[in-house]
Amino acid sequence: MSGMTFTMLDATKMSTAEIYGKTLCDLGDEHPEIVGLSADLAKSTKIGMFGEKFPKRFFNVGIAEQNMFGMAAGLAKTGLVPYVSTFAVFTSMRALDQVHTDICYQNLDVKMIATHAGLSFGQAGTTHHCTEDIAIMRSMANMTVIVPADGIETAHAVRAAYDRKGPVYIRINRGFDQTVYETPDYGFELGKAVTMHEGSDLTLIACGATVWRALEAARMLEKVDGLKVRVLNMHTIKPIDAEAIEKAVKETRRIITVEDHTTIGGLGSAVAEVAAGTGKSFSFKRLGIPDCFSIIGLHEDLLAHYGIDENGIAASVREMMGKDFEADENWEDEV
């Protein structure tokens, strides 16, 4: 992968945020116009690595996110390219007016790398969970929304964000992510889903932390149940890969979306918007956090609690496969 100064082996030893920090340092060498901002979370988000390397191009604004995103807009207006990092919950809610009006409305080149997303900061409690950000961010005009599945994909996304004009929101987790790729050269392309597992019985569409879980579920279902489950890594939520969704609807007729996010407005909704337009009948389910404030606990446990770990996903697949929906007399194949 161009510009990557670490190997896959290194990547497995680094947290996702560390890979982000390292990638941003490399990008900073290549592009002197990149500047960094954080709000007293330079260490946690790892943008501090950039700050240490380029102290004159880095601003720690203290615990003041509204000012930070406004400043980022001002910096972008001078031709600089700000990368801004704080927790996802503060990026998407605390400073949303600034993100909306100062950055998106003016279509400015500000890259928001939001960490501790979904339930990944599970033990911190619900104030630090962020299960609404995909819904919020994808509703902003001009915004690009990326949810990388692992560290390597994060590195690709952070680089792709630089090349993509306008505001970009990248949502990553706290801590380590399971590696889903064997090589960095899998052909990351913004807006193009990656087929992680081939299948024709049903398609699982996942993003972020749930990609590895969906993949594990598909492997297990193949071995145990003999099911052929397609797994799509929908790393870009906006612009979404409509072609991959339409193909999955037509070829597998059963779709389950899985996300570490509320089932309202996120990946599942984005997929539904496209799928509903195909004119095909299909069976559909959205997995994620239901309409509630999430409980406290370890990320892994919480994913299991909400049925979005490998076992929960497998159970939903089996349930859908068990439904003989095609025998339903109201089933209309074509509209």
């Binding site: 203290g62 509204q66 000012n67 406004g70 972008a76």
Partner: protein, 290 residues
């Protein structure tokens, strides 16, 4: 340094023209934020006609000074300033607020040439201006950023986040000006949400505070000259102003935050502005004779 008589007269005449054009714009628009436009007009006039390094023929000139209208609701006051300078065709003002017009209540930087930032949600402009000022510093450029805040806007917590940061980062190439007209939508600032001791608040946040009369060009010039010498602390100019300044039947009345003029009121406003011009010129002449 006091202004030369000719320059003072030039600014007085320009401010009068712009106030008058603002009244016309409010009529064309149907209604608008007339009170806050009139209170800020002398500040915008002296910035655009004396202090700012700009070229309306090259609106994107890299070395230009930047102006951020953080109190973005006074588009009916700001658009005439830009149109008069030739940033865009004055005729466009006649379509203000019309469906499909580039000009609306809060000006859009993507649609209106000369507008540096889309504002309107209050409390945002100082952060944007600070980002610009720090951007200039990183790039080694010498242009200045001027941010005009409303006083009621200073209720917003985001303003104080930015103030703290401006002092922390020693943004001396940023000049903050507050249009202290003491009025907000629901009443006088001190009744709705007290700002005083306002100067002390800015000082406590690390600013050098310069008090000015926002309707006296000598006072504003002295403040802006002093601001240019900032070395260690960022500067805020607290400009005492009168909401609706120049139009006697609305002046000082918070209820004229927003409104419209019928034919009769328009004529009265124009007559009042003419009298106000005479009074200002007379005062200005007296100063010049000193």
């Amino acid at each position: 340094m006091a202004l030369a008589t000719e320059e003072r007269k030039r600014l007085e005449e320009k401010a009068h023209e712009l106030r008058s054009l603002c009244v016309d714009t409010v009529v064309w628009a149907g209604s608008g934020h007339i009170g806050g436009s009139m209170s800020a007009m002398d500040i915008m006039t002296i910035l655009y006609h004396k202090y700012m390094r700009i070229d309306p023929k090259q609106p994107a000139m890299p070395g230009r000074d930047r102006f951020i209208l953080s109190k973005g609701h006074i588009g009916v006051g700001y658009a005439p300033v830009l149109a008069d300078l030739g940033y865009f065709d004055k005729e466009l003002l006649k379509e203000y607020n019309h469906t499909g017009s580039p000009l609306g209540m809060h000006l859009d930087s993507k649609k209106v040439t000369g507008v540096e930032a889309s504002t309107g949600s209050l409390g945002h402009g100082l952060a944007i201006g600070l980002g610009m000022a720090l951007g200039a510093r990183i790039k080694g450029e010498s242009w200045k950023t001027y941010v005009l805040l409303g006083d009621g806007e200073c209720d917003e917590g985001a303003i104080w986040e930015s103030a703290m940061a401006a002092a922390h980062f020693k943004a001396t190439n940023l000049v903050t000006i507050v249009d202290r007209n003491r009025c907000m939508i629901d009443g006088p600032t001190e009744e709705v949400m007290a700002l005083e001791p306002f100067a002390d608040k800015w000082r406590a946040f690390g600013f050098e505070v310069i008090q000015a009369d926002g309707h006296d060009f000598d006072s504003l010039a002295a403040a802006l000259d002093k601001a240019a010498l900032a070395e260690d602390k960022p500067v805020v100019i607290l400009a005492d102003t009168i909401k609706g300044c120049g139009i006697d039947f609305i002046a000082g009345d918070y209820k004229w935050h927003y409104g419209g003029f019928d034919g009769e009121k328009t004529a009265k406003a124009k007559e009042s502005l003419a009298r106000y011009r005479e009074a200002r010129l007379a005062a200005s002449g007296a100063k010049g004779a000193k």
